[in-house]
């Protein structure tokens, strides 16, 4: 008979072996102990979506280039968390040199805490954006339910997956895509936008806490359609999971901002390396690496990327958050506790 302690220990080991099953984020890349002290170090606070692009392509390429141009070895380590959580962690003392987040407003929060200069957008050009993506509809292979536009998601007997906007930056992009596609353009209005969100949310029965979790549930066979980033579908394809995606006739272009966190990088002597990394992320020769992992290029090539994996976009198929007044106006009017979309979602769910 085992003692109680042994029993608990065995149980814990059993539990730990199951752990990799869970699709939770937050893994920091491992430290290569021998290099530390000799190498230039850089710590990145990132959100979850660019993990594969960073780990498999961008970080190795940057480290190689740094070695080539300066003769010094660099060790770049990244932590991946939800955008909001990551931004809070940095404000509360997680000493990262660079922030790469899902929302401009999460970078602004760090700026308001005095760690990033307020002019971070203009400091590096391209409005601080290093890569882009789109909000798309992930559908089962062959699109059996014939889903092409947002209003199709309101059809009877359809199950839609989208993460919770209160816990996921990605979910906010999804809502902006739905809302903006009806609110902007000729004949559009705020009411039409809210109405579209309401119709889609009648079919939402699972709101996972993060964008990744939501797509993992879709891959498990839950739901008919998942609202997600184009880039997430490409990453899933690389991992051998096959399903299709549809780009709605009108959707939002996602800007992924990056900024050097001066408040931590400067005193630690990482400023030069941090600036080089952010500049590298935006450079033309880094764009194919981003593209390999599903991100669209910044600038002109966004709608017509040379990379074969991306469908071409029609003129006017995408809009920017700026068209809705930018995050500064969208956050209070749509997403606050009494924001119109928050209220719409709460209304819909109770009437079911």
């Amino acid at each position: 008979m085992w003692s109680s302690l042994e029993r608990r220990l065995a149980a814990f080991v059993f539990g730990a072996t199951l752990l990799p099953l869970s699709a939770c984020g937050g893994r920091a890349t491992e430290d290569v102990g021998s290099v530390v002290g000799v190498a230039d170090e850089l710590v990145i606070a990132a959100y979850s979506a660019p993990r594969e692009a960073f780990e498999r392509a961008l970080i190795p390429a940057f480290e190689a280039e740094w070695k080539r141009t300066t003769g010094r070895s660099a060790k770049v380590r990244a932590s991946y968390l939800g955008s909001g959580a990551q931004s809070r962690a940095v404000i509360q003392g997680f000493e990262a040199d660079v922030a790469v987040l899902a929302l401009e407003s999460d970078v602004d929060k760090i700026a308001r805490a005095g760690l990033i200069p307020n002019d971070w957008r203009t400091r590096t050009g391209a409005n601080g954006t290093v890569a882009r993506s789109l909000v798309v509809l992930a559908v089962r292979s062959g699109n059996p339910r014939g889903l092409h536009d947002w209003d199709d998601l309101g059809a009877a007997d359809l199950e839609v997956l989208t993460p919770n906007p209160r816990t996921s930056g990605g979910a906010m992009w999804n809502l902006i895509a739905m809302y903006g596609s009806a609110a902007l353009g000729p004949g559009g209005s705020a009411e039409a936008g809210v109405d579209r969100v309401r119709r889609v949310f009648r079919n939402v029965s699972v709101m996972d806490k993060g964008a990744r979790e939501s797509l993992v549930n879709f891959e498990r066979g839950i739901g008919d359609v998942a609202i997600t980033y184009e880039q997430e579908v490409h990453v899933a394809r690389k991992a051998g999971r096959n399903y299709d995606y549809v780009i709605p006739p009108r959707t939002v272009a996602i800007d992924i901002p990056a900024a050097v966190i001066d408040g931590y990088a400067r005193p630690r002597g990482h400023q030069a390396l941090a600036e080089a990394f952010v500049a590298f992320l935006r450079r033309a020769d880094a764009q194919p690496l981003w593209a390999d992992w599903g991100f669209r290029p910044v600038g002109e090539a966004f709608a017509q990327p040379s990379h074969a994996a991306f469908p071409r976009l029609k003129a006017d198929q995408t809009f920017a958050v700026a068209a809705l007044g930018g995050w500064k106006s969208v956050m209070p009017s749509l997403f606050a506790t009494r924001g119109s979309l928050t209220m719409a979602i709460e209304d819909v769910q109770a009437t079911r």
Binding site: F14, S22, R88, K109, K209, G221, I222, Q349
Partner: protein, 287 residues
């Protein structure tokens, strides 16, 4: 008389001195540990509620989403406490009274839910009961949604809190003398009567305390629930997941207010259970 007194003190003394440090040090250590690791975090939560102001707190707790999440949390936890109270007692009974092949294995499995990260529990349940899996599909075919519905919350909570009642009731059952039952039987009591008037009263304090513990543990469960519930406001959003949403949206005041409500409710229940158990123990001792 004097000798007896001396004997008694002599009996007691060595016990308190068998610890290598003095009484004052012991108290300071225990008190300090409690203060630093338990009380301080609780005070921090309470403080952030005060900082947020009463208006924020009131608004946070009485919004329609908050109210429905509290209601959902309370009724699912109550069902779980009752079901696990019953099934836990039954399991403890089987473990204590019967020897069967695999007894040791069953005994070991009972503690597993405590050791498994609750996030894994959630993932496990989705893999097992998901709508695309045989069991979930069968239920869905009969018009019953297992996961991403309150039923899923209950399934997760049943799993996570299972050991509490079993482990609390088990030692009490072991202590009940077979003599008492035999005496009752000899006096002509039926098996049911024996259970109701001999075993149940002895079990009651442990059963009630552990049911309340189950209930309070269920009130706070997050990791597994966030995965299986669906988290739809006013339908499948529980209070701990509401707290998580508030934190992620930067509404610290609302998060703290709801947390404090959950903590207060738990504290009240644990305190009540403790008092009841003590009173009960005193009465039993006096008999």
């Amino acid at each position: 008389m004097t000798t007896t007194m001396t004997a008694t003190t002599a009996d007691v003394q060595p016990r308190s001195h068998s610890f290598p440090v003095g009484r004052a040090t012991l108290r300071a250590l225990a008190g300090g540990f409690l203060l630093v690791f338990v009380l301080l975090p609780l005070i921090a939560v309470a403080r952030s509620v005060v900082d947020g102001g009463w208006a924020t707190t009131w608004q946070a707790l009485t919004s329609r989403v908050a109210l429905s999440s509290i209601a959902l949390t309370l009724w699912t936890a109550a069902i779980v406490a009752v079901v696990n109270g019953f099934m836990g007692t039954l399991t403890a009974w089987v473990l204590v009274r019967y020897r069967f092949p695999g007894h040791a294995a069953v005994n070991a499995i009972i503690d597993l839910p405590i050791a498994i990260p609750t996030l894994v529990t959630g993932v496990m349940l989705v893999v097992l009961y998901g709508p695309q899996q045989p069991i979930g599909a069968w239920f869905a075919g009969h018009g019953f949604k297992l996961l991403f519905a309150p039923a899923g919350i209950i399934l997760a909570l049943l799993f996570v809190t299972f050991p509490f009642v079993v482990r609390a009731v088990e030692p009490v059952l072991m202590e009940i003398d077979a003599d008492q039952e035999e005496a009752a039987a000899t006096l002509g009591a039926s098996r049911r009567r024996t259970f109701v008037s001999v075993i149940l009263p002895a079990l009651a304090p442990a059963l009630l305390t552990s049911c309340l513990l189950t209930f309070t543990r269920a009130l706070g469960e997050f990791g597994s629930v966030v995965i299986v519930a669906g988290n739809i406001p006013r339908r499948t959003l529980t209070a701990p997941v509401y707290v998580f949403g508030a934190i992620e949206s930067g509404e610290t005041g609302a998060a703290s207010a709801m947390s404090l409500l959950l903590i207060g409710l738990s504290a009240l229940l644990i305190f009540a259970a403790d008092r009841y158990a003590r009173r009960r123990a005193l009465r039993m001792g006096a008999r």
